[in-house]
């Protein structure tokens, strides 16, 4: 049997519902694990110990009275520190907001708490989901539990590190250009960037309004489905929110996958300038697994990755600068070096360049959707290889290889990162599963089927 802190959310939910596992004991197990290793991992920037234990006692009492709210009731999670939490400091990992205590929960946090989760604390992030892994912020950068010399990825760095190391059962993340999927891949967990407009961003600090997406991160695709169930839903106070019927993601994720049609976007990651040989090998093996599951696989061609990269980079830099201009001008010293310098690059872009990037984005969206006419899902690499070392981090990482995640921020499609093996050094590798807008359920279904058919979910980091 797994240690309590390594139970999946689905396993823990089953045991809590059967009154075979106490939420209080579960919360204590996580805090014991945090106390034992987080001084090396730095996944948390703030612990919510007393309130979490009080919530666990309340959950236990409710469940004992037969008032089980559902699968998330009594499950401990962490919250990325750009999500507003009522009465709990929300710093965005920045000196600028070091004493900021919101009065209200972000809408998705409110929904998660209503579903019964217990908030263990606030998780490290790149500053404002943008500047990291930086050395001059109020809290240390989170580290990768598979090897502490390597980055966990970002910007949802603490979320990825904490889940992999068993410091929470699940976590919230946000994804503007890959900030859920990159750390999910680097830390060997699962993370879905839902369809743009499915999960409310209200109360979550913005980075780039036309790309920002909130979503769940967890050890498995099934657990992501459980969290997404609570997080998804229309919010009239988020102008991007869409009023669609929310399916039963968990039930959908468990359905058979035979007969699904998958298009492989090889030109994103194959060839000399593509992903590492280990990543290419793992994706090829993953495609064999999917064929064995009865999935039809063919190649598809999307627009060039560099085209997505160019449009996406202009949009992120322009919109992020608009958010930060006033504070950046008045108090630049309160930003970390990486945020400060990256944000200033946005000042050098023109309105025409931003407009043309948004226009080109629409062209790319239409070409991508057309390429999906004959398939249900896409698969491509998530990261080029395993997590880089801290020593290799750059202030401006934008002018090398284009991000593999950015295309699906531009198109708004759901995109899910899952572990597909390990490199020779034991670091996790990952692929992306991409679906049609608002078909997040099918994306999670394929992720779950693949995880069930492979051994990667049995392996945890050595920390």
């Amino acid at each position: 049997m797994s240690a309590r802190h390594y139970l999946t959310m689905a396993e823990a939910a089953h045991r809590i519902a059967a009154r075979d596992l106490s939420p209080v004991d579960l919360v204590k197990s996580y805090f014991a694990r945090i106390d034992a290793i987080d001084d090396r991992l730095h996944a948390y920037v703030l612990l919510n110990r007393d309130a979490a234990l009080a919530s666990a006692h309340e959950a236990e009492a409710e469940i004992a009275q037969g008032k089980w709210r559902g699968a998330l009731h009594g499950l401990p999670i962490g919250i990325k520190d750009i999500y507003g939490t009522a009465g709990l400091r929300t710093t965005c990992h920045s000196h600028l907001l070091i004493d900021h205590v919101p009065k209200e929960n972000a809408e998705s946090v409110r929904r998660l708490k209503e579903a019964g989760v217990i908030v263990l604390g606030k998780l490290a992030t790149h500053e404002f989901a943008f500047g990291g892994p930086s050395h001059d912020l109020p809290f240390p950068a989170a580290r990768n539990p598979w090897n502490l010399d390597h980055v966990p990825g970002g910007s949802s760095s603490g979320s990825g590190a904490a889940i992999a190391a068993g410091l929470c059962a699940g976590a919230t993340g946000s994804d503007t250009g890959g900030s859920i999927r990159n750390p999910a891949g680097n830390c060997g967990i699962a993370g879905i960037k839902p369809t743009y407009g499915l999960v409310s961003r209200r109360g979550v600090f913005p980075l780039a309004h036309t790309l920002d997406t909130c979503g769940p991160m967890a050890w498995t695709s099934e657990d992501c489905a459980l969290m997404l169930q609570a997080m998804a839903g229309y919010d009239p106070h988020d102008p991007a929110s869409v009023d669609v019927t929310i399916p039963d993601y968990h039930a959908e994720a468990l359905k058979p996958v035979r007969g699904l049609r998958v298009g492989v976007v090889r030109h994103f990651y194959e060839g000399r300038d593509g992903a590492t040989a280990d990543t290419q090998r793992c994706i090829a093996a993953a495609l064999d697994v999917l064929r064995d599951l009865g999935i039809a696989i063919r190649d598809v061609t999307l627009p060039e990755l560099y085209d997505f990269h160019a449009a996406g980079r202009v949009i992120v830099l322009s919109e992020a600068y608009a958010v930060h201009r006033a504070h950046l001008s008045r108090t630049p010293e309160l930003y970390g070096q990486y945020s400060r310098e990256r944000l200033r690059l946005g000042a050098l872009l023109t309105a025409e360049e931003y407009y043309q990037a948004q226009r080109f984005r629409r062209v790319l969206v239409e070409r991508t959707l057309r390429a999906m006419d004959s398939v249900d899902l896409l698969i491509t690499a998530n990261n080029y290889g395993a997590a880089e070392r801290f020593a290799d981090a750059q202030v401006f990482p934008y002018f090398g290889k284009p991000y593999l995640s950015m295309p699906f921020n531009l198109t708004g499609q759901p995109a899910h990162a899952i572990c597909c093996g390990f490199d020779a050094n034991g670091l996790p590798l990952s692929l992306q599963i991409v679906g049609r807008a608002f078909d997040d359920a099918t994306v999670l279904r394929l992720g779950h089927a693949y995880e069930q058919a492979t051994p990667w979910r049995q392996r945890r980091p050595p920390i």
């Binding site: 036309t210 310098e341 043309q356 629409r362 401006f396 002018f399 608002f438």
Partner: protein, 69 residues
């Protein structure tokens, strides 16, 4: 490799003064190189010069609501 967009340190300093960006010499040097990088990347974005473009492909805001499939 495409020729990168270049800007002299003097012209870049003038641009930064205009935009009221206060930079140390090291920051200015890094930002000037990043400026060259982003402006070179932007060349990939075709500039639409159609005087009366198709509304659906040009004016639709990408942040507008997606249609459920």
């Amino acid at each position: 490799m495409e020729n990168p967009v270049d800007i002299s340190p003097e012209d870049f300093a003038t641009l930064c003064r205009t935009l009221e960006l206060r930079l140390s010499p090291e920051e200015a040097d890094r930002l000037r190189r990043a400026y060259s990088g982003i402006k070179t990347l932007i060349r990939r974005i075709p500039r639409d010069e159609t005087f009366m473009p198709e509304p659906a492909t040009v004016y639709a805001h990408p942040g507008t609501r997606l249609t459920a499939s």
